[in-house]
Amino acid sequence: MKTGFLKSKSKKTTSKEFTMLIVLVIMIIICIFINPVFISMSNVMNLLAQNSIIGVMALGMVFALITGSFDMSVSSTGALTAVVSTYMFIEFGLAAGIFTGLCVGIAVGLINGLLVTKVGVNAFVTTLGTQTSVRGLVYIITGAKPITGIPADYNFIGMGKIGGIFPVPALIWIILAVIMAFVLKKTRFGQYVYATGGNRKAAWLSGVNTDNIKISALVLSGLFAAIGGLIYTLRILMCTADGMDGYELKVMSACIVGGTSLDGGKGSISGCIIGTFIMGIILNILQLAGVSSFWQDAITGIILIGAVAIDSITARRRE
């Protein structure tokens, strides 16, 4: 019984992530062939640090996607967080900035959640609308001017390295990933997230407060967008009105490539991390291979489709 269970699990539940893991491994092997520098310690550490913003944001977004919501607003949420917390960093110090920043994320997430559940606006439209409005708010607050003056020692959180080697943002990413994986797999909340996305009506009929679950998932998405925004602003020690523009699609791509279904009900933290790396090493390897940026978009798009296509094809064959 026990072995049967394990076998069936590895065969069914995790197969999407497994396919993507293989894709990632193949990509890595190709990268190493193209340029052995790829697996040098410093490059690996760079990759960890560079992908941590998208990676962290994906940890929250995946909750929204599993409940069957979209979150197009994370880029603006991150930017607003960056702006608000920059003011706070300058005036009141690190803790105040982080606290206010996280509040911003929660607030935007809450607005999204209430609009989606209580007013009944489609999640894509809602978050597209908040994306635009929140970006507008950023323009109004900043007057489109960049703000500088964050104390230089706060830079440690964004750019620092523990023991001179391990990047701090990567550490944040790993810790949050472990926590969120636990929440998703081991708690009742996680269970309800899957159930709500898998079949909202069935979950509701079973007494799950699906509205609350959807709201919480969008709040988590906003919260992690805010964490991403904080890392972003502490990396570059300033904030700009157009900061993080287009990040929502990067984050979403990472989740989707990692096996999260846009129809809801499916997804995992491990998949998210794999997806983040698949999308994240493209720029790195194209540069290491000496490919001009002109080719980057074309290749990124093909890899995005290719990765998901490989999964669809293998899934079809498994059937």
């Binding site: 269970q191 898998g198 009900g265």
Partner: protein, 494 residues
Amino acid sequence: MRGIIKEFSGVRVLNQVDFELKTGEVHALLGANGAGKSTLMKILNGIYTLTEGEIYYDGKKVRIHSPRDAYSCGITMIHQELDLVGCRDVSENIYLGRELYKDRAHRILDRAGMRREAQTLLDELEFDLRAEDLVEKLPPAKQQLILIARTVSCNSRVIVMDEPTSSLSHNETKQLFKVIKSLKRKGISIIYISHFLEEIFEVSDRLTVLRNGEKVTTAVTSECSTQQLIQWMIGRESVVQKNIGEPKNDHEMLLECRGLTTLRDCIKNVSFQIRKGEIVGFAGVVGAGRSEIAKMIFGAEKMAAGEIYLDGEKVVIKSPTQAVRHGISMVPEDRKQEGLVLKLNVGANMWLSYLNKLKRGVGLDYKSLNGKAQQMFQHMSIKCEGVEQGIDKLSGGNQQKVAIGKCLLNEPKLLILDQPTRGIDVGAKGEIYRLVTELARDNNTAILYISDELEEIIALCDRIYIVKQGQCVKEIDNHTQQVTKALLLKDMVD
């Protein structure tokens, strides 16, 4: 429940309905399609809020606004629709909303425990299910069993079962009755909705009949006769009579299948024939593979081997589109998922398949389409406001009739009916039987009839094939042989 009134956008669906349930009884709720049975029960379960009326529970007035309220009162319901979370496993679905915890304070799940407990429960109920299977991979019958197991495990005092057997086969139904009896012994009350009258007689103590949203009567089951029930439900009498006409052995051969085999190996080497104007029945237990065979002919299931001859010519049917072009139509067994486009109106559903026959590149002639639909409404006595009504607003039975009407509009040479009477009241069933026989007699249409109800197979079909474990094991001629239910059952099971 007293004086229940329910209106949907001004339309009164339930009018002054009283309903009472005693502790430890099985109370059947009967009525034609659209009588309001499900609506009444959804009110009891907090899914709809009532327009007027009161609910008393243990003598106290209660307000039930959500399934959660109902659950805390000790009321749970098995819904007519199979509402399960497809992408999670059986145990998670059974315990959804009532998870077991390792650490209750922090809501940390005990997955292994849930699996174990679920498996124990399933074994106790003698349901053939594994706790770790993914729900979406299971056929409807098994999903129904999950819902039953789930409800049983809730330890409720009142269980509502809305057509639980509509997708179950004989054995599973027997299993369910065993469960119901043991629940009754524990003092649990059950409200049982079904269109199968013999089930009502078998399990229920009392019954309440609804007609057009009003209560007709409440009676003790053992004091009623079948005819009386039908009279109450539809206001007139109706019986399933054997009506198979003349033998069709001299008719031209329409369809001949040789050695059909699926890729997945569910179906192995199936051969059979159907003549023009002949009704051929497929009898078998759940999962025997009847639907798969039908889908294969219809091009909806990939064929690994085998040949299909239509009108004596060999044809290759790779998709339903081609099947429809060849004059084959199918009414699928799951009308919600496969039969109807619930977002569209009645008309668009009705003429969806027929459009294939129209010439290309011309604007649609809505007048004639509308006329055709109206004709079909009359022909099949479909109760609806007109072609513009949303099909999701029709009762299940009327939806099913639209699904059949859609195929008839096509005037097919071969009509495949997969469980056409599932979830349909006796009155409507009678009409469908009439339709089917007329179609075979007057239009010379060949009909492949798949059903779990052996009576109707015996009453309608010229020939019957017994399907067992993906194979046609026996062919019975209904004209020359004396066929009984018991006989068929024996063939199906052994």
